[in-house]
């Protein structure tokens, strides 16, 4: 897919809680096609410690309005500065980057997200819906406050939740939810994104039950398009760039 570099205009900054915002960015013209699982590299200006671009998953796309949404968790200086962007500000992106989630062979699909890792699952949910598939979502967070953008997910499928403190949904990690406890799961394909420890557990569960599992990695990167070779993942074929060979990998291809 052709890559672009463009100035987008921030048309909305929706603060979800103390650490999450959703930025809505408008393309100056016609937004090119973007696939679920792809990401953008965001230029963050004005910080001596924010030299490189920030890779951020594409959360949602509206082709009619030529807008895309980015779910941003403020975890460092770069994402904090992104969280402060105001309506009318300009945001320079290199996009769309990386591969994408594949379409499932059947309609028995589970999408498992943890923390900010839920971001690409929304666009994937839309993609599935457009293909006549109603998936199940399993979303995990530390507490109720971290379960965000639920309405958007509920429009697309059944939403299950876990929180570590038990303040919403099932208490514990995603792997503790009943949907992942059954010995004969009615699932043929899992898509997961979130903390690596979570994805590893999900991938192991999928392997044990003969379920195809695609994981979206979040390695730190400099360029985002295969020039620097900094973001490599360890695969059966050696080091592969998360930015161009990923971010989505079949879990059995990774040396986990």
């Amino acid at each position: 897919m052709k890559k672009y570099i463009d100035d987008f205009k921030v048309i909305k900054n929706e603060r979800l809680n103390h650490e999450y915002v959703i930025l809505t960015l408008k393309h100056p013209g016609k937004l090119p096609a973007m696939l679920p699982g792809q990401f953008v590299e965001v230029r963050v200006d004005n910080g001596p410690n924010t030299f490189l671009r920030r890779p951020i998953s594409i959360h949602d796309v509206d082709v009619e309005a030529n807008t895309m949404k980015l779910l941003v968790q403020e975890i460092g200086e770069g994402t904090r500065l992104m969280g402060q962007l105001q309506e009318g500000d300009i945001c320079n992106l290199v996009y769309p980057l990386g591969n994408s989630f594949s379409l499932p062979a059947t309609n028995r699909v589970l999408l498992v997200g943890g923390g900010c890792g839920i971001a690409p699952l929304l666009l994937m949910g839309r993609h599935l819906k457009a293909n006549g598939i109603k998936p199940q979502f399993l979303l995990g967070a530390r507490s109720k406050d971290g379960l965000i953008a639920l309405d958007a997910f509920q429009e697309l499928g059944d939403v299950h939740m876990t929180t570590e403190d038990g303040s919403a949904g099932t208490k514990g990690y995603v792997i503790h939810h009943p949907v992942m406890r059954t010995q004969s799961p009615e699932i043929d394909h899992i898509y997961t994104c979130g903390p690596e420890a979570m994805m590893k557990v999900v991938a192991k569960y999928a392997k044990n039950h003969g379920i195809k599992c695609e994981v979206s990695l979040e390695n730190s990167m400099a360029c985002g398009f295969g020039a620097c070779l900094c973001c490599v993942a360890d695969t059966l074929d050696g080091h592969k760039c998360t930015c161009t060979d990923g971010p989505v990998f079949d879990s059995t291809y990774l040396k986990w």
């Binding site: 052709k2 890559k3 672009y4 570099i5 230029r43 001596p48 410690n49 924010t50 030299f51 490189l52 671009r53 290199v94 390695n219 730190s220 990167m221 400099a222 360029c223 985002g224 398009f225 295969g226 020039a227 620097c228 070779l229 900094c230 973001c231 490599v232 993942a233 360890d234 050696g238 080091h239």
Partner: protein, 303 residues
């Protein structure tokens, strides 16, 4: 009309702007953003005799106005390059130069011999300065005798333009520059990355799997500029300056310090079109400042 051409000791550049090895892939990665034929040259990814996996992740750490990398020359080896990559890039209308690295002098010789046979590769950049490999690399570039031995050996088998890339991790870079000139270098490029490190105070762990890595970006620019100036005083062969160049002004400064051409590296990650902008910017700088030829900027610092 400003004349942007540079004669790099026989290697003709349409303008002084090149891309630094390891920051521009094989050029193809940037073709969506702009037509790389507008550049003076492209230094393709560091190439070794054998396939290399490079170092373990994490290999990169962002630092104030810069970044550390410890990629460790990941590449599929020169034979893969010849069979699979060269056919794709050989018709780009710019100087496609191969950055050659190795662990032993024999590696360097064998790789250079293979590249010597490629009609559309007009030169190599001998990398005696990579700080991220256990053997060879920078070890060759940090003493005059070892630098001379590898350059002399490659010079015997390599018949086209031989650029030698120096390490800044030395006490006296002018000495090394003079030594590689004496050993047969056609041009000298500098600086490779500065050895550095970063620690995460929260986890108390190093940020790189290798603990140390190579620092690049604007943070290194004053050091690079000083070294280019020092080497320019010590040698007659042309110099290709690099180290933290982010824009036209930076490129002009390197030329004023004595560089005949420049390489842009880390900036490509932040603005993939930056090199094309610098080509245009140099033309504008020259016309605004009364230079008919960009080559008149070389060493034109007024003291």
């Amino acid at each position: 009309m400003v004349d942007l051409k540079i004669d790099l000791n026989g290697l003709e550049l349409k303008n002084p702007v090149m891309t630094a090895s390891g920051t521009f892939g094989y050029g193809e990665e940037f073709m969506d953003f702009f037509d790389i034929s507008c550049l003076g040259g492209v230094l393709v990814k560091g190439t070794t005799l054998e396939h290399r996996e490079g170092n373990a992740y994490p290999r990169m750490a962002e630092t104030p106005q810069g970044m550390l990398n410890a990629v460790g020359l990941q590449n599929k080896g020169v034979h893969y390059f010849v069979e699979h990559i060269y056919p794709r890039i050989k018709d780009y209308q710019t100087n496609m130069l191969v950055n050659v690295s190795g662990s032993t002098i024999e590696d360097y010789i064998a790789t250079a011999e293979v590249v010597n046979e490629l009609d559309n590769i007009p030169g190599i950049e001998l990398n005696i300065s990579c700080p991220n490999v256990k053997e060879g690399g920078m070890a060759f570039g940090t003493s005059c005798p070892s630098a001379v031995s590898v350059v002399e050996a490659v010079r015997k088998v390599y018949k086209k333009h031989l650029m030698v890339k120096l390490s800044p991790n030395v006490t006296n870079i002018a000495e090394i520059g003079a030594a590689v000139e004496g050993a047969g270098a056609d041009s000298i490029s500098l600086i490779n990355t500065l050895l550095g490190m970063a620690i995460d105070a929260k986890t108390r762990k190093p940020l790189l799997s290798t603990i140390t890595g190579g620092l690049s970006g604007p943070a290194v620019k004053p050091v690079a500029l000083r070294m280019v100036w020092q080497v320019a005083q010590a040698v007659k062969v042309p110099i290709v300056g690099m180290g933290g160049i982010m824009n036209t002004t930076d490129a002009v400064e390197f030329m004023l310090a004595g560089a005949s051409a420049v390489q842009v590296g880390t900036a490509n990650f932040i603005d993939p079109c930056v090199t094309a902008k610098i080509v245009k910017g140099l033309e504008q700088y020259c016309s605004e400042n009364g230079f008919d030829k960009v080559s008149d900027l070389v060493g034109a610092m007024e003291i």
